[in-house]
């Protein structure tokens, strides 16, 4: 007889649906006089349903994990070749540190038993948790959430690229994934105070993106701009990215991964209609964001700049992350279009005020995270929000908008304050910034003793 993987496999495979029925349920149903076959089938059905939900969550988690590659390619492609290894190492370690930290403490702070609406307190090292959480195995749920945590952490790598010390970065990364992100996450997704006042953030415009984006903003302000970014008169210089095809691949990977990020947030493969709505909204908002960013930069600067266009796609994706389950496709297009305008304006604004964000992380994740969160208060549909509130333009009055603003700004306040403190302490102690020589020669050689493109002739005049 042909067979596949040994022992365990066979067991697993032969565990046909009708065998998974929990004994207790069987007993109850039997007692109520329902015949045995039906009882068995009910149990089998639940087994299959669990299977599809878990499959959905796991695949979504894999896709969200893959976004880490997208972040890496975008961040490295948009900076100079001499710092590419450095940002890639940061990006790599972001995920690894996040996974370990989220395992040890992060998950507990985010999803543990609530204390005062502020923080979770149980489940350190995943100890003492129920087998299932939100209808799927806790381990699957953890993986999905851990990948989110890694995404929040790595946003900052891009904004602070090309000048930040590596070991200081590692420290930052551990703190945000172990503490800051989990606490903000707890407020909204872990049963904290924002959840109780009816704040909505379906897949994390605020929880993930605004958190990462505003941590970037405060970080890059404290760190200061790259040498040569601003002239004495305050005007900005362009420091072009070294590998636009790589960055564009990164944007595609991020978009692809976002199809896990948003639709996966239902945690349920059987929610066919909801998942489909979320998927189409995600796609249309990204398309609209790309198109509007390209149109605007073309109009403003006379050329359809690809780097801005790609940021437009990401802007649309960030903006639709919170509202994707609460609005229709038409609204998704509007949300994406506005996101495209925000990214262009945001990039110009930062250049104007002397903030140096090499990859545009602040306007993409920060500003559009806010916009996406607020947009629920504008376009949210009562029927989809499952409460009695709705958006301002969808006949729901201003209340939801107020709640959204409160939730978004209090989260941002928390991150700016705590991360500001963290960055200042690092600055005063082990230091944030590499030496000028190292910055000029590149962090790849200075911090890692290697080159990204060994053998290639590369000008490092900038």
């Amino acid at each position: 007889m042909t067979k596949g993987h040994p022992s365990t496999h066979s067991t697993v495979n032969s565990r046909l649906p009708h065998r998974v029925a929990p004994i207790a349920l069987l007993a109850v149903l039997a007692a109520t006089g329902v015949d045995a076959a039906t009882v068995e089938q009910q149990a089998a059905l639940e087994g299959v349903s669990l299977g599809i939900n878990t499959t959905w969550v796991l695949i979504a988690a894999f896709l969200v994990f893959f976004m880490q590659a997208g972040f890496g390619m975008v961040e490295s492609g948009f900076i100079r070749a001499k710092n590419a290894c450095n940002v890639l190492t940061k990006n790599f370690m972001d995920f690894c540190v996040a996974a370990l930290a989220f395992f040890v403490v992060g998950y507990a702070l985010m999803f543990g038993t609530d204390a005062g609406g502020l923080v979770g307190t149980t489940g350190f090292l995943l100890g003492g948790l129920p087998v299932r959480t939100n209808g799927v195995p806790t381990f699957a749920f953890w993986l999905f959430q851990a990948a989110f945590c890694g995404a929040a952490a790595t946003i900052v790598a891009g904004a602070m690229a090309e000048r930040m010390k590596f070991h200081s970065y590692l420290l930052y990364s551990a703190i945000i994934s172990a503490v800051i992100y989990p606490v903000i996450g707890h407020w909204t997704w872990g049963g904290g105070w924002l959840a109780s006042i009816g704040f909505h953030d379906y897949a994390g415009s605020t929880v993930v993106h605004a958190t990462g984006g505003f941590a970037s903003l405060i970080g890059t302000i404290i760190l200061g701009p790259r040498i040569g970014k601003f002239n004495k008169d305050g005007s900005a210089n362009a420091i072009p990215g070294h590998n636009i095809p790589l960055a564009s691949l990164g944007v595609f990977i991020l978009w692809f991964g976002w199809f896990g990020f948003n639709p996966g947030s239902s945690l349920s493969g059987t929610s066919a209609g909801l998942n489909s709505l979320v998927a189409i909204n995600t796609c249309l908002a990204a398309a609209a964001g790309t198109t509007s960013a390209m149109g605007i930069i073309w109009y403003v600067s006379g050329k359809p700049d690809l780097s801005m266009t790609m940021n437009g796609a990401l802007a649309g994706l960030v903006a639709i992350t919170a509202p994707c389950a609460y609005v229709g496709p038409g609204a998704a297009i509007v949300i994406g279009t506005v996101a495209g305008a925000i990214i262009v304006a945001g990039v110009f604004l930062l250049d104007r005020i002397g903030v140096d964000d090499p990859v545009g992380a602040v306007p993409v994740h920060g500003f559009n995270g806010v916009w996406g969160t607020l947009s629920i208060g504008l376009f949210g549909r009562k029927a989809l929000l499952a409460g009695d509130l709705g958006g301002l333009f969808t006949g729901g009055g201003p209340k939801l908008l107020g709640i959204q603003a409160l939730g978004c700004f209090s989260s941002i306040l928390f991150v700016v304050f705590t991360m500001g403190l963290v960055f200042l302490i690092i600055k005063k102690t082990i230091g944030l910034r590499v030496s000028e020589t190292e910055e000029l020669r590149g962090l790849d050689i200075g911090e890692h003793g290697m080159e990204s493109y060994s053998g290639f002739q590369i000008f490092v005049t900038r």
């Binding site: 362009a238 420091i239 990215g241 600067s301 050329k303 700049d305 801005m308 940021n311 990039v347 250049d351």
Partner: protein, 113 residues
């Protein structure tokens, strides 16, 4: 012996090689260069910030020839590289004191070709 250095537009390289072949100049060395001359640069922009690129891509050619070949070499480069537009390039001629063929150790006029 002379060492002839020329800066030309990259896309003229093949025509120059062709013209030199016809003039029996077979040996040349080429490097990539950036040039800043009379030709206006162009404006690039990156995420909304414009910047002028005034170092334009050029190709640098180096040819060592015996004195008898100087004129035809210069003439060949001009024939191949000239379009009549600004940016066509320059030719510089230096006195070459000595020339050595590494493989054989030959020196002087004999080594050059």
């Amino acid at each position: 012996m002379k060492l002839i250095v020329a800066y030309i537009q990259p896309e003229r390289l093949n025509a120059v090689k062709q013209a030199l072949y016809e003039r029996e100049v077979y040996k040349i060395s080429v490097t990539n260069a950036l040039g800043c001359g009379q030709q206006r640069g162009y404006v690039e922009s990156y995420r909304g910030v414009d910047f002028e690129v005034n170092l334009l891509k050029k190709v640098r050619i180096e040819i060592a020839v015996n004195d008898a070949f100087v004129d035809s070499t210069v003439e060949g480069i001009v024939a191949g590289a000239r379009t009549g537009n600004i940016g066509d390039g320059k030719i510089f001629i230096l006195e070459l004191a000595e020339c050595v063929r590494i493989r054989t150790g030959d020196r002087g006029a004999k080594a050059i070709g």
